[in-house]
Symmetry: C2
Subunit: 436 residues, 2 copies
């Protein structure tokens, strides 16, 4: 149940089909694998070594790896610069080994990494089955590659498709810039997420991010925005403060989307990974709740998005759904239309008309799930619209068990479901920045 | 399955033990109740009449109610000022009857009201069992007294304790000012929620709200903050635009908390209904995730809350939980302490120390649920701390099935659980305004 044992068990029980060499001077067998007393005793070339050893033994272990020709080490052990002066001295020794030997070093103080694409579960966290996908995350904190992902992977639906998650740790060597370069070249990465508490070289970071974002969208969650937050961050990861105002200017200039909490971060990545590329900022809002239409309008205008102006043919089509005394507008509140002409007819004709409109770049649907609005083909309709029109659909459901059925039936479709109007609007707004 | 039938069924199957008189000229029996052909035929004094009749028949029906001495009518039927000029003429006739007869009129265009305190399910929405509680909501939209509540009541945990929910409709007579007066006097109301799309008399509203909030906290969700939102609102409820900047000034001056989306509204009400009165803005943050500690610090500073400064005795107690090289701070990130001294010891001693500190007005706990941090008495501990120290506790859980167990075991405790750090911080911030 200790970190080292958990990590080896995860590696051994995962889908990785390469070789594993446990190293431990005191035991001879771990889970049926022959144990080596020393890294030098393996006698084969090693790609990555995970180090889960006492703090005092880390430097020597890395030296041995370098001497044995190991390409990369991942140091799980904590107790370095995040503890202040005591740890910083040890950490600078690690930096020297990297410089001298050219070994790639991840950490120290990381929970490891998971690469679902090749089945490497290099973390001590007991994750459930990892489905994989195009999102690649680099996180300077255990929670973004640990607890939060554990939570998301444990949910029955709407799990973000994360294929690679790297715990950055103290970033002695491998950092966000390396990660961006890697993602740019990696054919399986479609969407990049960074959780950072420090940016060692903000200028270089912005330069590289500006290039990489032209290939793949980036969502950055950089905490320590306030003085108090930065102070807290310093005792968490030993981070130096970044000038947040300057950083924001740079991010705006280069079109890097910035999330401001963990939920926005995950939601924006989920949206970006599931949506086709957003072509503009003009949004159609369709809803069976007038109030939630008004609220999402306020939110999207505040976020710098726009309400699409429907073309005349679209308005004509929408009129067929609504009673004749109602002039269809955006947001399109079609509760009365569903009452008058039947819920299936109103949804099918209303939503199709909106998505077919060339003035519409993206779609937000806020749907009440109730006996009056439900119909069996609801999820199938959204699935078809997303496929046919190649525009981002963001949806929110409120209601009874029908809402849960819709969620289940939409699983696997490229239609992200959000917990509330703000989450939907904010994800679309971050996607619009990332795709600009 | 029509609105009238659904409403009567809800009334008849609810816990209301007063008399019900269905009125319908074409049938003689509804669900075993004798049907009256006309309101005048009842021959007993009637407190409330629910009108679910065609639009053309509404005015005459209200006239009849007034003539028969009915105290109040609730008009479900839609098709009045929200349709523009056609409907406005009819609506002004209703206003005249109110003036002339003194009858109290709710609506038109409302989904009705539910008063769980006396079992009156006066709505056509098919709600699950309504548990009741101190929150009273007045909502100028069906979703806040319908779909959204339906959703919340269908969830297994953390349902906000709503005892009264009134759909305002077009507010011909009964409006937010009447509702505030009612709530001030109503012994069962502890917390007031208003969803408004229009405020007919902003000055009077602010005057009354300023008085009532000294008795009971108020959370206002006023949509139409932007020009586009206000336009959408106008076609939803026929609302006139309110000057949003002036309104905000008034709300700030009088300490009325304003939510900006449906989730904030519900979360703030849930917090206020479950928490003891907040005494100040100084917050202690405890977490097993350093990153979420930093993120919540950023959020709470941005919201105008403060990080509490711990007294020396508190720091001394926190030191016992942590390794000696760590200087405890706020946010209190005690992952290492849990690793070193056991998760139960670290949680019990750490959290108790924070809550006992006189410099701490409120507490935010962000807890990772994993084998390393879980212990059987976790929920019991939070329950005890909330009871002993009479301070608001806001908690967020991330993780595996342990998180779900914690949620279940906390049901009924006065410890609201929030979906993410922003929701927790924002609810506390709105509570701080409402309690000021």
């Amino acid at each position: 149940m200790k970190a080292g044992g958990m990590l080896f068990q995860n590696l051994a029980s995962g889908e990785f089909d390469g070789k594993l060499f446990p190293v431990n001077p005191r035991v001879s067998d771990i889970l049926g694998h022959k144990v080596y007393s020393d890294i030098a005793a393996i006698g084969e070339s090693v790609d990555v070594a995970f180090l889960v050893v006492p703090r005092e033994a880390v430097v020597q272990a890395v030296e041995k790896c370098a001497a044995a020709g190991v390409s990369a080490v991942c140091i799980i052990t904590a107790g370095f610069s995040e503890l202040g002066d005591i740890g910083s001295t040890e950490q600078s020794k690690l930096r020297q080994i990297v410089k001298r030997s050219g070994i790639a070093l991840l950490g120290p103080n990381t929970i490891g990494f998971v690469n679902a694409r090749c089945g490497v579960m290099g973390s001590f966290v007991g994750f459930p089955r990892w489905k994989g996908g195009g999102i690649s995350i680099f996180a300077q904190s255990g929670v973004f590659s640990g607890g939060l992902l554990l939570d998301l992977l444990s949910r029955p639906t709407q799990c973000p498709p994360v294929g690679l998650s790297v715990g950055a740790g103290n970033k002695v060597d491998v950092d966000e810039i390396d990660f961006l370069h890697f993602c740019a070249d990696d054919p399986e990465t479609t969407t990049i997420g960074l959780y950072l508490e420090s940016i060692a070289h903000p200028r270089d970071f912005l330069d590289v991010a500006a290039k990489v974002r032209k290939l793949k969208p980036i969502v950055l969650m950089k905490s320590g925005r306030t003085e108090e937050g930065a102070r807290a961050s310093s005792s968490h990861t030993g981070s130096q403060m970044t000038d947040d105002i300057l950083l924001n200017v740079g991010l705006k200039q280069f079109g890097i989307a910035r999330a401001t909490d963990e939920n926005e971060f995950v939601d924006a990545l989920r949206g970006l990974a599931m949506w086709p590329k957003l072509r503009g900022r003009k949004v159609a809002v369709a809803t069976t709740s007038g109030a939630l239409g008004v609220i999402s309008t306020d939110l999207l205008i505040s976020e710098g998005l726009e309400l699409a102006r429907f073309t005349l043919p679209t308005v004509a089509k929408l009129k067929q759904v609504m009673p004749r005394w109602v002039e269809p507008a955006n947001p399109f509140d079609f509760w009365v239309g569903a009452e008058l002409n039947g819920t299936r007819f109103a949804h099918e004709h209303g939503l199709e008309a909106l998505l077919a409109d060339d003035n519409v770049d993206a779609f937000i649907g806020i749907f009440l799930a109730a006996p009056m609005t439900d119909f069996p083909e609801f999820a199938q309709l959204l699935r078809k619209l997303a496929k046919t029109y190649e525009k981002p659909l963001a949806v929110v459901f409120y209601g009874d068990q029908s809402a849960r059925r819709w969620m289940t039936e939409l699983e696997g479709a490229r239609v992200p479901i959000f917990a509330n109007t703000r989450a939907a609007v904010r994800s679309l707004s971050l996607a619009a920045i990332a795709a600009r």
